[in-house]
Symmetry: C2
Subunit: 238 residues, 2 copies
């Protein structure tokens, strides 16, 4: 086994570099996923099918990045046998890229649904309803990646709190869409497509929340999943 002599807290300087490199790759993947979400939204707002098609195509790149980083994480686990915070970092990366890949899938859905929209006035007016939700979700994703980049638990916990706002916005939007559908059944097809885009955005919020939870776990070594925000804040400030 190719293992270097322990140097300080880590097995070796080279191992430090490997971990740092992994972190950078996750952030690069995060950047790509952010672009995919932004382009997916822009495709919808600007009725730009060319852009939507590109988003669908580029999902492959996101997928490849996940497989790649995942593979490197496994190699690190096997060769370096990290412990404590290094082990938590590797496991947090494996989970984070899984969430990023799924955010990528949701961005792809924005693209696919844009391509299926029937080109009419009602369609574009429905799309514009996604603007507020889209902005909220993009902001949340950005903050989640930021808290990962800076390993900032406070930022991560604050960002987790945004998820409820997104869910409320989503519910309000769905009520509006249902009213429109009932008033004008001819718009049902497009309204449904838009509702699926809203659902995709809401799920991007969920995955952003997961990423924040990985950050808390990574820094504090505590699992904050599946408990309320208040308990989360109490738990990490113990």
């Amino acid at each position: 086994m190719n293992q270097d002599t322990p140097l300080g807290g880590h097995i070796s300087k080279r191992f430090d570099n490997e971990l740092e490199d992994m972190r950078h790759q996750v952030l690069a993947m995060g950047g790509l996923v952010e672009t995919q979400v932004a382009n997916g939204l822009r495709g919808l707002f600007e009725s730009d099918s060319e852009l939507a098609r590109r988003v669908v195509q580029d999902d492959d790149k996101v997928d490849r990045m996940e497989v790649d980083i995942d593979d490197q994480c496994l190699k690190i686990l096997a060769r370096r046998q990290p412990a404590a915070s290094d082990l938590r970092l590797v496991v947090a990366i494996i989970k984070t890229i899984n969430d990023l890949e799924r955010i990528g899938d949701q961005a792809e859905k924005l693209g696919r649904n844009q391509l299926e929209l029937i080109d009419d006035d009602a369609g574009s007016s429905h799309c514009m309803k996604l603007e507020h939700l889209g902005n909220l979700v993009s902001k949340m994703l950005n903050k989640a990646l930021d808290s990962f980049a800076r390993m900032d638990v406070d930022e991560a916990l604050k960002t987790i709190g945004l998820d409820e706002k997104i869910n409320a916005e989503f519910d309000g939007m769905m009520r509006q869409l249902i009213t429109h559908m009932m008033e004008d059944p001819r718009t049902i097809r497009n309204a449904l497509r838009v509702s699926w885009c809203a659902r995709a955005l809401e799920r991007i919020g969920d995955h952003s929340k997961n990423i924040c939870e990985h950050v808390v776990f990574l820094v504090r070594g505590k699992d904050v999943r599946h408990i309320g925000l208040k308990e989360q804040v109490e738990m990490v400030s113990e």
Copy 2:
């Protein structure tokens, strides 16, 4: 570090037992998740709100199992520092329980949507449309867990193929629902709820597929995600 002397392929008999125990816990979690899906569906088919409420409540149990098994996996990684197929098993378990937890979330959605259905004839007739899709998805989940239990790559690959059938069934169902909504806009609310249940079922199919892919990775050490079924079969039979 509490590490025993190597015995044969593994570090120790005790380590073998630990891994075996982990596998059993995953299967127990799988069993619980299957029950949740079955009850979620039964709640819808039999308009049984009591059962639906129980499904929503019991999602906590699924969540706790995930956190628990995840925690044990981390401890194994830290203490035993497994390599090769043992390492793949631990990583495959971490990923599989994540998928199981998300299947649990989808089952919870079946329950939640049942509780929100407006009690009328159209509602129950919509629900019955979920029967075929629900059966397909339950079968796929069962086969996925079976392939995990028996580490059966052939079964896993065959099961992955079911996902396309489920997607086709989902698309057909959505077309039917849209037609109904356009014909009778008063049923839109219920039809939308049912469409979300259909979407939840379709996602259970996706997660079952993921579980099968973890099995292939675990047994063959090859990552088969994000490639077509044909390529997957070729890849593992190389």
